[in-house]
């Protein structure tokens, strides 16, 4: 493909054929504002914020979808353009609930930022009849407030990109709104609670259900022993909310912040990620050796589990019965740890910090109460943790980096760390399974074929004379492709890792919100994941089964992997669900 020569604001620039004006302008350091545009998944040119003047064109054109042509002359901020953008913002605001002061997205709202830039502030201008919507808080994980919706349809695109498709654009004209078929609540449809709609929403129309109050209450209750554990990916995303570079590992600061908030113990979900691996690798070998259902599919991602239950209930027997690391943590905390510390499990309050909104759903599932009490009391997203840190007036950036996790659920391996990236669980499981199969220590622990941001990755490994065929998928559309293969009997895999969110937990629905411009033009997933692989490389222990905490847990409490006790405490079951 050849290059096209154009001029933007008089400056010549040469870009490949097929480039949009928006992308071409970026080459010159001009960031044309957008609202509805999401690269590849929502290129609909609907919001009209990105309009520019093109010499010879009758009307302003939408730069996000208009491709450049030879000799094109573009003007990105003429008075005509600015006037149009301002008018568009005013029209959007005319039906927008402007209660910005307490909105959780205040400060990170894309609409608010643009209104500030364009000086849109004439309150009286927006008076008049407005459609009124009730808040849909029917799910355990999110709240939809259509009064703050600007109809950009990014959430619809995200839901479609996940192949979940439970939301769409209903009605028309002034009554247009985002909703489910037959105006059902989200709690009554096959929403898998992945939260990708939330991280793609430009405003406060979609937010996680805030559970921080419950945690503050527990922290203030002297009868409660309140402990917290943080998922592998939190340490590499949390810093973004405090102005730090994407991909900064803030483990030490994070632990210090949690202590300052008042948690009695700060533990690491990485440890129970290791535990998941030990149990899951055992399950895999058991299925291979004893003719069990193959391929075995990972069960760490609760959004994926719910998706499988709704859309592929016939494949449920393929799912690993292992609880996720979050649930294993709670199960261990309220049994083994409770016993060790001499605390009644009813007085232990377990808080998870998760990259994920589906973890809120998972915590409320049946079969997730090893001690007789729910394994997890509250699952918070990374964003809710940010809110708690701010509420506690902690200057995060100034905290020392020396924070260390508590024992006994604090010492983890590199295998646990990489759980947060797509392919990480697979690699961690291979490190353990290979060593068990070979019956001797294995030097090279890096399975690079399953790394990277590709949606589907496949590899065949020769282990102990046996060819082990594996596949990794992230994003539910990719999961669909693998599941359809299994259904047709075409796959022949032994082991499959699936993460609901594209790129895995580092891009989870509970992670810090990044504006569309970052999502469109920065490789968020790769940068965040890189920090996890860095952590793995520098840890002395990199195989889950080498973790002394895990060894102690089995020696003192569970017996051996896959034991009866391990099954009672660390495994669960699934249910077939309807699509409609």
């Amino acid at each position: 493909m050849g290059n096209v020569n154009i001029k933007i604001n008089g400056t010549p620039v040469s870009v490949p054929e097929g480039t949009t004006i928006l992308e071409a302008a970026r080459k010159l350091g001009i960031e044309i504002p957008t609202l509805c545009f999401l690269k590849e998944i929502n290129e609909i040119g609907a919001c009209r914020i990105c309009v520019v003047e093109v010499k010879g064109a009758r009307n302003l054109v939408a730069s996000c979808v208009q491709k450049v042509t030879e000799g094109m002359e573009v003007f990105t901020h003429t008075p005509k353009v600015q006037k149009s953008r301002k008018l568009t913002l005013e029209l959007i605001l005319s039906t927008h609930d402007k209660q910005c002061l307490s909105c959780v997205r205040s400060g990170s709202c894309e609409l608010q930022m643009l209104c500030q830039e364009f000086g849109v502030d004439d309150e009286q201008y927006y008076e008049g009849h407005n459609p009124q919507y009730y808040n849909d808080d029917s799910t355990v994980h999110l709240v939809r407030d259509n009064n703050k919706c600007i109809l950009c349809r990014r959430c619809v695109a995200a839901c479609q990109a996940q192949n979940v498709n439970v939301i769409g654009t209903n009605s028309r004209g002034f009554n247009t709104h985002i909703g489910c078929a037959f105006e059902r609540d989200l709690g009554d449809v096959a929403c898998v609670s992945c939260g990708q709609c939330i991280v793609n929403c430009p405003t406060g129309a979609l937010t996680e259900k805030d559970d921080t109050e419950k945690v503050w209450e527990a922290l203030a209750d002297p009868t409660k022993h309140v402990i917290v554990h943080t998922a592998p990916s939190i340490r590499v995303t949390l810093g973004e909310s405090f102005g730090m570079k994407i991909g900064t590992n803030v483990k030490g600061k994070m632990i210090n912040a949690l202590r300052r908030i008042g948690f009695e113990k700060v533990f690491d979900t990485d440890v129970t990620a290791d535990l998941t691996i030990v149990e899951e690798a055992h399950e895999l070998l058991d299925r291979i050796n004893n003719g069990g259902k193959l391929p075995l599919i990972t069960s760490c991602s609760p959004g994926w589990i719910k998706f499988c239950e709704h859309f592929y209930p016939e494949l449920i027997p393929h799912l690993s019965t292992c609880k996720s690391p979050q649930q294993m943590f709670g199960a261990i905390a309220k049994t083994w740890y409770a016993q060790q510390e001499g605390i009644d499990p009813k007085d232990i309050f377990v808080v998870s910090i998760m990259p994920c909104t589906a973890k809120k759903f998972e915590a409320k599932r049946s079969g997730q109460a090893a001690s007789g009490y729910p394994d997890i009391d509250v699952a918070l997203t990374t964003r809710e943790l940010v809110r708690m840190i701010n509420r506690a007036s902690i200057r995060f950036k100034d905290l020392p980096d020396d924070g260390e996790f508590d024992n006994p659920i604090g010492l983890s391996t590199g295998a646990g760390a990489i759980f947060g990236a797509t392919g990480g669980v697979m690699e961690a499981a291979l490190r353990t399974a290979a060593e068990w199969l070979e019956g001797k220590p294995i030097e090279n622990v890096e399975y690079t074929e399953v790394r990277g941001i590709k949606g589907i990755k496949e590899a065949i490994y020769k282990i102990a004379g046996m060819e082990v065929k594996v596949a990794v998928a992230s994003g539910l559309k990719n999961a669909t492709i693998l599941m359809d293969k299994i259904k047709k009997g075409e796959a022949g895999y032994h082991f499959i890792e699936i993460m609901a969110c594209p790129g895995g937990c580092v891009n989870g629905g509970g992670q810090p919100v990044q504006h569309a411009v970052v999502r469109n033009f920065v490789d968020l997933v790769a940068r965040r994941a890189k920090a996890l692989y860095e952590e793995d490389r520098h840890l002395p222990l990199r195989k889950s089964h080498d973790n002394p905490a895990i060894k102690a847990l089995y020696d003192e409490f569970l017996g051996s992997p896959g034991s009866h006790k391990a099954h009672e405490i660390l495994h669960t079951h699934y249910v077939a669900r309807q699509i409609y």
């Binding site: 479609q160 939301i167 769409g168």
Partner: protein, 166 residues
């Protein structure tokens, strides 16, 4: 519309017959997404409206999300997810009729029947819709009941008109 009546000429009545007619429509339009509006149109002619179960069936058959189909259905005012009444009243809201007071006639009808626009009365007698100009501006304000045009309708006439339809 005429075409559908021909293609399902056995006057389908049972559920099986209705779905058989629907299958014929789906076959004819090759279950293509680009034919969705046509398919919905024909489906409404077969069932009288677009019931939820039928839309789910279409979603499955066409491998389309129900949310997407529902979006299309609610976009066009001609589509209805509610059963139609025995009589369909259509009030012309074209410019001429509007200027001559069609909105007042419409409100009177809705008030008398105790329903909102697009709804059907509980007894299944009437459904009320609006349409844009029907090209009978000389008769403004005009309404149509079951296809018959009534001319120069005033608010005072509404009661008598409704009484004529059981």
């Amino acid at each position: 519309m005429k075409e559908v009546r021909e293609c399902c000429c056995h006057h389908p009545e049972t559920k099986e017959e209705l779905y058989e007619a629907l299958n014929q429509v789906l076959d004819k339009y090759e279950r293509k997404e680009s034919n969705l509006i046509q398919i919905l149109h024909m489906t409404q002619a077969i069932f009288g409206y677009l019931p939820e179960d039928v839309l789910k069936y279409i979603a499955e058959e066409m491998d389309l999300p129900l949310s997407k189909i529902f979006g299309v259905v609610t976009f066009y005012s001609l589509f209805s997810t509610q059963p139609k009444g025995r009589h369909t009243i259509q009030v012309c809201m074209g410019t001429a009729c509007y200027v001559k007071g069609a909105d007042k006639v419409l409100n009177e009808i809705l008030d008398k029947l105790g329903i909102k626009l697009g709804e059907t009365t509980k007894d299944g007698r009437f459904s009320v819709q609006v349409m844009r100009c029907i090209g009978a501006c000389g008769l403004a304000p005009a309404i149509s009941i079951d296809g018959d045009i009534l001319k120069h309708v005033t608010v005072n006439m509404v009661d008598d008109i409704l009484k004529r339809y059981e």
